[in-house]
Symmetry: C2
Subunit: 193 residues, 2 copies
């Protein structure tokens, strides 16, 4: 296998992401995806099984990246406030950098068929529960105050999704400035001391 | 015109919204919209000009509703904290109740063509600026503390969008309980005293 051939699956996923973002999953055809990477006709199926498989891989890639970033973020400290700050920074940074993934990941959950849909929803629930646990740790330590750790974790996570919709690289604030402001928002939101 | 005939444009808009939500604007055809309200073939065009016109009307309806609710919310008090609280309550309540509108409104901005796209973006910018002004009022009064009123207003508005994605009528918390928790989140987020 040449390096070009081995790079194809990644290029095909990028092309699929681009088209899913631009026109939505239902309106995108495999031949459009093939055309974008210069592969004509049935030879696309040497690299990918189906459009559904591509969407599932994109969704899994998003969760892999978010969970890895989260793990790295929280592993360096035991302080609940600092752990939540770092986790939110990682979450917001991912959404600022990967706006197409965030957009498609959010919009096309309903386009996934089983078993992909349940698998991705389970991974999202697990990711949300990590944030809920961080908030619960802070509440237990007496440094956060919330009515519901679940609702607070939803609100914190939604801040990331929001950034993905409006952040621009050439905007008024740099990625770091947005990441830091949003981490402050999240800590305020949970009533951090 | 019978009452059935006059109700048709609204029924057609509801059908369009339903299909745009389920399968996206690009993948939806006028004949599918017609089929959902029991109108076959070209007679649908007696009621609506085009699919694009339907999307633009849906988008305008969302902004009408949000701006009306906002206006009613803030008109009763001059206190900056109370004004922001009520504005956020109205915003979150709309998103909890109109999840399909919120979803399509957010996802299909890119499906609007000109002059609709610029018009809707201008209305959204105006709505955002109302929140920015409320936050600036609180900062000026010394009761809010934010790095950027613009970024804070984005974060506050994104909380509403988040609710639209996960709120369920049969969930753990009632609409009011979510609205109140989110209003508290927003006030905390802007550093309200």
């Amino acid at each position: 296998m040449t390096s070009t051939a081995s790079a194809r699956p990644a290029a095909i996923r990028r092309a699929a992401l681009e088209l899913f973002m631009r026109q939505g999953y239902p309106a995108t055809t495999m031949s459009e995806i093939g055309a974008l990477v210069g592969i004509r006709g049935p030879s696309l199926y040497k690299h990918v099984a189906s459009k559904q498989e591509l969407l599932a891989e994109i969704m899994d890639g998003i969760m892999d990246a978010l969970q890895d970033a989260h793990q790295r973020a929280v592993s360096g400290t035991a302080d609940p406030t600092e752990r939540l700050r770092r986790a939110v920074e990682a979450h917001v940074r991912y959404h600022a950098r990967h706006r197409a993934e965030a957009f498609v990941g959010n919009r096309e959950i309903r386009s996934l068929t089983e078993p992909h849909r349940s698998a991705v929803l389970a991974r999202r629930a697990e990711y949300e529960q990590r944030f809920r646990a961080l908030i619960a740790d802070g509440v237990a330590a007496g440094v956060f105050r919330v009515t519901s750790t679940r609702v607070a974790s939803y609100a914190v996570l939604d801040l990331g999704m929001g950034v993905a919709t409006w952040f621009r690289d050439d905007g008024e604030f740099s990625e770091n400035e947005i990441v830091w402001q949003y981490a402050d928002f999240a800590l305020r939101l949970v009533g951090a001391e």
